[in-house]
Symmetry: C2
Subunit: 558 residues, 2 copies
């Protein structure tokens, strides 16, 4: 019985969070399944959770330990949270990567940036073309989203068809890229779908999704009414939006200038892949300096408040010689991702201080989401009529809500958060194993595990400040009564006006001679005794127990 084949689904990232997408499908005998990977995405850190970290990567230890069983890696689309980890993680998996042409440009660049060969990136044909990978046959079915060539994966297995939705929306007129094709989806669903693994990010949004094609009119009106320079920001990868914005600018007599590396890179990738045509001519930032501001429109990076991007730079001062002033207009044609509100708001206020009119999407005129809202998710359920619905890509509350919706509609809805291995091939889907998955952080050039304590330690430093203390144990194992103290992130002077470091040194000079030999001769005990003395004093003097690092120097007889 253990030799029977089974079909499994295992999310390693993206299920229980927004971003960091990485999913595994397997088919074969238990623990001998052949595997395919769907997406290798990243997440972006914030000060609240991962200070100082550069990127959040999925924990692929489970996959790496089974890499001889991986037949292929499929990437659904070129957003960072689906393709961003390819450069960092591919070398640990080494399976061929399949994706569509536009996505392949990005996957290759990421491998190239990481100094790796791009040979293993294969451009996959679109539906009805197919890719064979072990027991799986995979077809890239076009979906509309906020980036070109986004695809769902139609995964045929020996026990039935699985559809992995990727990120998608229902847009019958998406400006750039393939419109939603209901006939295609009916065809995909007509012979029965075993399981639909489906995007859940917008499950709580109750109105039907709006089309990209609804934007040109209000954005055009906005630009028509602008007196000074117009600046617009959105996600660089939202090529349709870039075109919407640029076309609206040109229609209103403005020359277009793209600013920010990601912006230019995306437009050229779109042109290279042939998905972006008729994009207006653009000026370089230098050329744009010669254009009267009432005839200029900048399209810039940094819609999420990123400190080093063009938007933040324009908020602080100038960027590539361009500076905003009274009467200019700045449009956020974007949604602020939760967690980015504070930096985005900082830019809006900095611009307002310059007299710039800041327009955002708080009234829903200048941005549309790239994800399916609840009615559109339901429409897909009804077209595919899967036996099983497994919500993916969403926080836990999104997964739960989506699974409940599925149950209410007669499907088997399963909440499977990261690490939950679901068997799809039994009579009813069930979680057969829990894998420990955390996150891996890219920190500088080092990989740090989310549970290693390194980042938790940084948070403690930020919350509590630090006292560093050096003490010397001399050649005769005698603890010197002098200590050396340095403060970081703590007030130098107490409320009573005393020098805090000097007070700590004085306290230690009094306390240390009382430490017994057992304490002095044992690093852990000595460290703890010093720490306790420092923390107690600080609690009294500044009402706070800081972190304490003790450097114990044991001098050796020469």
């Amino acid at each position: 019985m253990t030799d029977r084949n089974r079909l499994i689904y295992l999310p390693l990232g993206g299920a229980g969070e927004i971003g960091v997408n990485c999913y595994v499908y397997g088919y074969g005998p238990v623990d001998k399944e052949r595997l395919i990977v769907v997406d290798l995405g990243v997440g972006f850190p914030d000060m609240d959770g991962q200070p100082g970290v550069d990127l959040i990567l999925p924990d692929i230890a489970w996959l790496e330990a089974r890499r001889d069983r991986i037949d292929a890696i499929f990437i659904t689309h070129a957003h960072e949270d689906h393709v961003g980890a390819v450069g960092h993680l591919w070398s640990r998996l080494r399976a061929p990567i399949h994706c569509r042409a536009f996505t392949a440009i990005h996957a290759k660049r990421k491998l190239d940036d990481a100094g790796q060969s791009t040979d293993q990136v294969h451009v996959a044909p679109v539906w009805p073309g197919m890719v064979k990978a072990g027991p799986f046959t995979v077809q890239f079915a076009p979906v509309s989203h906020s980036i070109p060539e986004a695809s769902a994966l139609v995964i045929d297995t020996p026990v039935g068809r699985v559809v992995h939705s990727g990120d998608f929306k229902i847009d019958r007129n998406p400006v750039v890229g393939e419109p939603f094709d209901e006939d295609l989806w009916r065809q995909i669903g007509q012979d029965g779908v075993l399981a639909y693994i489906c995007d859940s990010t917008n499950i709580f949004t109750r109105h039907p999704g709006r089309s990209e094609s609804q934007l040109p009119e209000p954005i055009g009106e906005l630009i028509a009414g602008a007196k000074g320079m117009v600046v617009a920001t959105t996600f660089a990868s939202n090529i349709a939006r870039l075109k919407t914005l640029a076309d609206a600018g040109v229609a209103n007599g403005r020359s277009i200038c793209l600013m920010g590396r990601a912006m230019k890179r995306m437009v050229s990738a779109g042109q290279e892949a042939g998905v972006l045509t008729n994009f207006p001519n653009t000026l370089s930032p230098e050329e744009a300096l010669d254009v009267p501001r009432e005839n200029l429109m900048l399209i810039v990076t940094g819609s999420q408040g990123e400190r080093r991007a063009a938007s933040a730079s324009l908020g602080r001062g100038s960027y590539l010689g361009h500076e905003l002033k009274e009467g200019d207009m700045f449009l956020f044609s974007s949604k602020t991702i939760p967690g980015n509100e504070v930096p985005v708001s900082r830019i809006k206020n900095a611009l307002a201080e310059k007299g710039v009119d800041v327009i955002d999407d708080s009234h829903g005129f200048y941005h549309v989401s790239g994800h399916a809202n609840r009615p559109d998710l339901e429409a897909m359920h009804d077209i595919l009529r899967p036996k099983i619905l497994v919500p993916c890509h969403g926080e836990y509350r999104h997964l739960r809500e989506h699974a409940q919706l599925a149950l209410s509609k007669g499907m088997a809805g399963v909440v499977a958060a990261n690490g939950s291995m679901v068997e799809l091939s039994g009579n009813a889907p069930r979680i057969v194993e829990y894998i420990d998955v955390a996150k891996t952080y890219l920190d500088g050039s080092a990989f740090v595990g989310a549970l290693d304590g390194v980042i938790r330690d940084r948070m403690k430093l930020a919350l509590n400040g630090l006292v560093a203390v050096a003490v010397i144990v001399d050649e005769d194992d005698v603890l010197m009564e002098d200590s050396w103290v340095a403060l970081r992130g703590l007030p130098e002077v107490t409320g009573k006006g005393d020098d805090l470091a000097a007070m700590i040194e004085a306290e230690l000079a009094e306390a240390m001679p009382r430490f017994n030999a057992k304490t002095v001769n044992d690093d852990d005990r000595l460290e703890e005794a010093v720490r306790r003395a420092v923390r107690n004093l600080c609690l009294i003097e500044i009402g706070k127990k800081p972190e304490v690092t003790v450097l114990i120097q044991r001098l050796m007889a020469a």
Copy 2:
């Protein structure tokens, strides 16, 4: 000419931010004006801006230096961002405090908590009663807001009437507290208003404000449909909401239990001040343990995701013996304040993992704002028809938008951010002086200036991690080649598997013998040389330049 009297307005906090309200009015000869203070509020720190800080206080150095000229402090209402700094700052000003009865309970408790006398808190009569303070006559005019006895201040001066709006909304049926009284406001405006200093927080919200009285029906329906325990959270100070929630619970056969110190304190203050009547009987958390969950409703603190409040505790596990489970319902009858999205979302997901149905206000049914939206602000402009409008309480972009609205309606609109002293008594309002104002942080028991560098240092520690190094210069001024290194918030092992601290010690053992005497004998030079060596090595080994603290121990000849 310098002896002529002038009327000035100076915001010290709240103008250019949400929270930390503190405003000054003055009348008299230049630099000899008699002063009154309106509000002494606090702000709440976040990890992005003020890690580890307990409270954000306004910078009152300017006021303190002129404290002999302060005739009174007026508190408009009992929200923390208006009254919260009284305990921390009053001793530096020592002027009598005037506020209404409910607010006085809170002001007194804050002074009491700070170990100070409450003698100087005076309960002010409501309009048409008045308080004389130097050249000012001040009347507390009731407004509707999300706390009882919120008031605008009608400030009569020798050169005309100034109205300071306080936080307010237009609610003709606010459930608890005084409804908006249009006749009263027409009366206040009828003899002309020189300047209206007006709440701006909701200037970008274009629909008319909704009334607290619109909530009982949808909240009642929600509770009626609940199968398990119902938990609701809102701001503790929103006594009307507490009553709305509790009444809806009772109407649906549930016993009410208040959880969280602030919640119980607010209800008893409301009852003590006589503003809250007919609040249902409540059970203690212990008594509530005996009630079947389908007959119980908890009303709890922590709507903003505060880590130690009841909501977060219920998300993590149990609180005072109560634990949520599948089929229970949790209602956020509140708005998430920008910056708190991540912690609030963490609670929602934790609750969803327990199988709890989480309801929030994303569809606008279960919460109404306490601030006037744009149409309501306009209604007040039209009733008072002030000559000058100075927007207060709002981020810079709110102030600017509100001032532009005023200009478009024929008023003199002035953007005056914190530190901008506006003369209101000239022919036209103008900014006559800029005062340097930062913020003061309460950090443990210490006060830290926002520009002192202490908090910036903490952010650096969080972003970069820390290497602490101890080096010894012996009695003969020779730098020992051994150093002692400790890491905080950094990976212990490099990508290549080497021990980072040991590598740093080895690097220093190689570098330090090459330091010349000039470097060794000068603390600053030596520190810088060690720091540079450590940072360069770390950049190579972990791709990151950490913070470096160097403890230089110069041994003295015995």
